[in-house]
């Protein structure tokens, strides 16, 4: 059987495209898009006819392109870490690890990798913690450095000898570029005489419906196999949506939501939580201080007075207190909320008993932002108050969080420390890939925290590591992705969760 003997019905546009493909002797869809100036959707529609008539075939082609990662870019610009190390070592007799780390200006992980690599190559020796170079003349990984710099400048480089090391050291990544190649199965000339232009209608118009002419018209078939044009509808941010889900679960467990201001008085962030005014967490290195205005107004005088006493002599809790002179001016200073517990502290005023609360709040700490640290992060935390509640109930609450929120039946408790709770517990859950990971922390508020607000019942305070949970569930390894600016992720991140 030969195709040329049959009549082939094609829309005229499809016939034109057929000719173009034939003239070009195989062509990629991307190239064809350029030549025909048709959008991808229409193009696919016409190609559908050609494929269905076995005139052409589609072949998916994948090409690999190597491109620098952030690590790689940095190394290209500032030299590879081992080269930076040897440069310094060449100037010195020997250096301690810590000093070297400072001079190289890098983190320990990268330092370790660099030193390890040099040691393996026998270029350096480590003696009693002092690192020195063995051969000052030898250049380390010069070829690799050149490749990196060429890649950075955008030159076309043959990296095949270096691919393995580039990928292994996370200096570069291989990216797939997909395209479709259209191959001619039957030359245009061979069948051109048997091509019949179709006289069909492609579009159903309002007139046709109204005047009934649709009855006498054949509507052209749609090519159902054609790929649809790209479409991005509106959607919620994946992490925000996950937080919505957590809120829902907490509401279902009977927790009421609470919220507080982002700029917070030290009083609520620390003093009300029985953190002494000279506590190291209150230093400039651990909490963001506000420079304008510097101070706010303290709450109702009774509360301030009671909190002051709790610090100075334990108030009437039976505690020794911290035994120093409490300063209201320090307490009135403004900081960025450093933990969600400040929202709980505010809720202690006129607290309803029994009750359960949660808050999901942005918190701030002066950390250097990297793959595991944000200086602006989310905390989920709250309180539970009931006259009969015990430490064992607290463990029960944590169990409910493990099972209902982390959806994990494998959990364990560990002793923990918070300045404002006693006893304090850490909740770990077992991740099949990562092993035990910390998922939450909790404790019973110390009486020095609750009694100044007139609360006699025990108050359980708890917090959950929600960022980590989201990352584990979605295979994200860099915490900065939670606030990602990448439209590609925002538009296409999957909504189903495993």
């Amino acid at each position: 059987m030969s195709n040329s003997e049959k009549k082939i019905s094609l829309p005229s546009e499809a016939a034109k495209i057929y000719q173009i493909i034939d003239e070009n002797d195989n062509i990629s869809i991307r190239e064809l898009e350029k030549q025909t100036k048709l959008d991808r959707g229409k193009l696919e529609y016409y190609l559908g006819f050609l494929v269905a008539n076995e005139l052409i075939s589609r072949l998916e082609i994948v090409s690999h392109q190597i491109s620098l990662t952030n690590n790689g870019k940095e190394a290209a610009e500032n030299q590879l870490v081992e080269r930076r190390i040897t440069k310094i070592l060449k100037e010195k007799v020997s250096v301690s690890f810590a000093d070297l780390s400072k001079l190289v200006k890098t983190d320990n992980k990268e330092m370790n990798a660099g030193v390890g690599l040099l040691k393996k190559q026998g270029l350096i020796k480590i003696d009693k913690g002092q690192i020195s170079i063995i051969d000052k003349k030898k250049e380390v990984n010069k070829d690799l450095q050149i490749i990196l710099e060429q890649l950075l400048s955008g030159e076309t480089v043959d990296t095949s000898d270096f691919n393995e090391i580039l990928l292994q050291r996370n200096l570069a990544s291989l990216e797939e570029a997909k395209d479709i190649l259209l191959e001619i199965l039957i030359p245009y000339k061979k069948v051109s005489s048997s091509i019949q232009k179709m006289n069909e209608v492609s579009r159903l118009t309002p007139e046709m419906i109204r005047n009934g002419s649709w009855r006498d018209t054949r509507l052209r078939e749609y090519n159902l196999k054609a790929a649809p044009p790209t479409f991005y509808g509106g959607r919620k941010q994946p992490y925000a949506e996950f937080l919505d889900e957590v809120k829902q679960k907490l509401c279902a467990l009977g927790f009421k939501e609470m919220r507080g201001p982002i700029v917070e008085l030290e009083f609520w962030n620390f003093d009300a939580l029985f953190q002494a005014q000279n506590h190291s967490a209150r230093e400039w290195s651990d909490v963001y201080q506000v420079s304008n205005p510097k101070r706010g107004k303290l709450p109702k005088a009774d509360y301030v007075e009671n909190v002051k006493k709790a610090h100075e002599n334990g108030y009437d809790t039976g505690s020794k207190g911290w035994r120093y002179k409490w300063d209201p001016l320090k307490s009135a200073q403004l900081v960025l909320r450093a933990h969600g517990t400040s929202v709980s502290a505010r809720t202690l005023v006129d607290l309803e008993v029994p009750s359960k609360y949660f808050s999901i709040s942005r918190c701030y700490r002066p950390d250097t932002v990297d793959a595991t640290h944000l200086s602006e992060f989310t905390q989920v935390e709250g309180i539970v108050v009931d006259p009969s509640i015990t430490f064992r109930d607290l463990l029960g609450i944590l169990k409910a969080f493990a099972v209902d929120i982390a959806e994990n039946e494998n959990f364990k408790f560990k002793p923990d420390y918070y300045p404002f709770t006693e006893p304090s517990v850490e909740l770990d859950v077992l991740d099949p890939n990562l092993g035990w990971i910390e998922f939450g922390g909790a404790g019973i508020f110390r009486p020095e925290v609750t009694k100044p607000f007139g609360i006699e019942a025990p108050v359980i305070a708890w917090g959950l590591g929600i960022e980590r949970l989201f990352m584990v569930k979605n295979g994200i390894t860099d915490i900065r992705e939670l606030f990602s600016h990448k439209f590609d992720w925002l538009r296409t991140a999957k909504m189903s969760r495993g």
Binding site: R259, G314, P354
Partner: protein
């Protein structure tokens, strides 16, 4: 959080057993520490310690003391004999208002390897830094005993006094040490605040140290050859200097050293009497076991509880029905209340064995009305085709000003930013959305994005937190209508009448920008972003959008949260 380094081999040696990393980590959890890293080539563990109030646990010796209790290999408060050294320290009354307290001990028969000397130095540094508040509250010094004669003077001296500081080869005046020596630059500010120079002098005039800045080079260090040492802690708090000394003595005793006491002679305006240090004030606390059982949800009997506290290295001095009198070790000052003992009991029982109850507290849950309102707006904007983004509230002043054509913004600033990228609080959201657009110019258009989120504003010197909603549409075809129709849909679904009044705003094109007015109040802005901003941000398509303050939409329940 405190982090220390220790040898994995040596830790096993001290524990007298071989343990896998996992087994060791399990035991370390009783000391509220965890292994952050194990560097096998160097036999080094990096251990993170969560307690900020237990400096006695900031060394492997301290952790092992605790673990041996849990393993029931040792129990109760560790005791050691203290003989008199005959050394005396005389304290100058001029120090009364600055750094009045000192605690000293003499250690003899020391034989420490280089590793353990480094460990003790690590412990001292961690205590100085964290518990000692960067040496302000307390600082530690170790000296070679053979070079010191009693009585030692702790006094104020003139700035021209000279000695050779550690890591130096020449004599330097105190004034010069503060200006030029590395430690002088780091800790000199503490002394400068005093207005005078504290000094420790041996009876023969030899300088021991300039507390809390630097020791003398020859007297003020210990090496593998040192067999006798004077240990000294100065500071601003009597209890702190004494507890720190007790921690150090306890560690040295672990390594076989003998401890001798030193007599501290205080003038009456500092302390009413002389003190023999190390000071072992037998501090006790009473607990009512009924109360503790009710607190924990447990059913401990007095005898069981007594065994459990001993396991936690306390002593139980008496049991009277349900009242237990518990003695606190001299190296611990974190026990303020019976709840602290309750935790010790719970740890000794093992949290995982106590077991969770099926928890009760029946209450109804729910979102705050403001969150419900925000969700309403988010849903409408998703329906309008918007892709939601989350951006930082703490942000870069450049994004809020020059990048959107604004000279100056009256925003809340941070006093101690780590980087200028995170140094001011946003008071509008749209500049951050423009920043997002500028990072996505390689992605398909149209790009429609929105954020409903908190902002921070100054109103009459008061700081408030509130929620705004901002929407931007970027596309070659984008026109004012694209944003206007969406604002109109949003406000009509929210049953809110509004008008738009033309205004000039530096971020928007003249004649293409208006204020959104609801009930005669300005509550937002709408318009076409000025081309100079697009050029500046390298966005090569027109951008239109609006931002609206949610608390000013009457049908919503969004509130302004004031810090005061």
């Amino acid at each position: 959080m405190v982090s220390i380094k220790a040898s994995y081999k040596k830790m096993q040696e001290m524990l007298g057993k071989q343990l896998s990393i996992e087994q060791l980590e399990d035991l370390l959890s009783y000391t509220k520490s965890e292994i952050d890293q194990y560097i096998e080539e160097e036999d080094m563990l990096v251990i993170d310690i969560k307690t900020s109030n237990r400096p006695d646990l900031w060394s492997p010796e301290g952790m092992i003391r605790e673990i041996k209790g849990i393993l029931e290999e040792e129990s109760g408060i560790p005791e050691y004999e203290v003989k008199e050294s005959g050394y005396v320290v005389k304290v100058d009354s001029q120090l009364a208002s600055t750094r009045p307290y000192i605690a000293c001990a003499v250690a003899k028969n020391i034989s420490l390897t280089d590793y353990y000397i480094k460990q003790i130095m690590q412990l001292s540094e961690k205590i100085d830094y964290s518990y000692g508040r960067r040496r302000k509250r307390s600082s530690i010094g170790f000296y070679n005993l053979s070079m010191i004669k009693s009585p030692i003077e702790y006094k104020v001296i003139e700035e021209t006094h000279e000695f050779i500081p550690l890591e130096s080869t020449e004599k330097m005046s105190l004034e010069r040490i503060l200006e030029e020596h590395e430690k002088g630059k780091e800790f000199g500010h503490i002394v400068k605040e005093y207005g005078h120079y504290p000094i420790l002098l041996s009876a023969d005039g030899t300088t021991l140290s300039l507390p809390p800045v630097i020791n003398s080079n020859d007297v003020g260090k210990i090496t593998e050859e040192t067999t006798g040492s004077l240990i000294e802690v100065t500071g601003t708090n009597f209890e702190t200097v004494n507890v720190v000394l007790n921690i150090l003595c306890q560690v040295l005793v672990t390594h076989g050293a003998e401890i001798y006491s030193v007599k501290i002679e205080y003038p009456p305006d500092i302390y009413t009497r002389s003190v023999i240090t190390p000071l072992f004030d037998k501090e006790e606390i009473e607990i009512n076991l009924d109360v503790v059982n009710k607190y924990l949800g447990t059913e401990m009997k007095p005898k069981d509880a007594a065994k459990l506290v001993v396991k936690r290295r306390f002593n139980c001095n008496s049991i009277d029905n349900n009242i237990l009198t518990i003695e606190i070790p001299p190296y611990r000052k974190d026990i303020l209340h019976w709840v602290d003992i309750a935790e010790e009991l719970a740890i000794a029982l093992d949290y995982n064995k106590i077991g969770p109850t099926k928890w009760k507290v029946l209450t109804t849950g729910g979102l705050l009305p403001e969150t419900e309102s925000e969700n309403l707006v988010r849903n409408i904007l998703v329906g309008a085709g918007g892709t939601e983004v989350l951006t930082n509230i703490l942000t870069d002043p450049e994004i809020l000003t020059t990048r959107v054509n604004i000279d100056k913004q009256n925003y809340v600033k941070i006093e101690n930013p780590v980087t200028s990228t995170y140094s001011v609080m946003r008071k509008m959201i749209y500049p951050l959305l423009i920043n997002v657009l500028s990072k996505n110019t390689h992605e398909t258009y149209p790009q429609m994005l929105f954020e409903v989120g908190e902002i921070v504003k100054l109103i009459d010197k008061k700081v408030i937190t509130q929620s705004n909603a901002a929407f931007l549409c970027a596309d070659a075809e984008a026109s004012f209508e694209d944003t206007h129709k969406r604002l109109n849909q949003l406000l009509s679904l929210l049953d809110t009448d509004y008008e738009i009044k033309q205004v000039n705003h530096p971020s928007f094109t003249e004649g293409r920008c208006g204020r959104i007015i609801i009930e005669n109040k300005v509550c937002g802005i709408i318009g076409e972003i000025h081309p100079s901003i697009l050029e500046n941000n390298q966005i090569w398509v027109p951008v239109v959008g609006f931002e609206i303050e949610l608390p000013l939409i009457p049908s919503l329940k969004c509130k302004v949260k004031s810090t005061d």
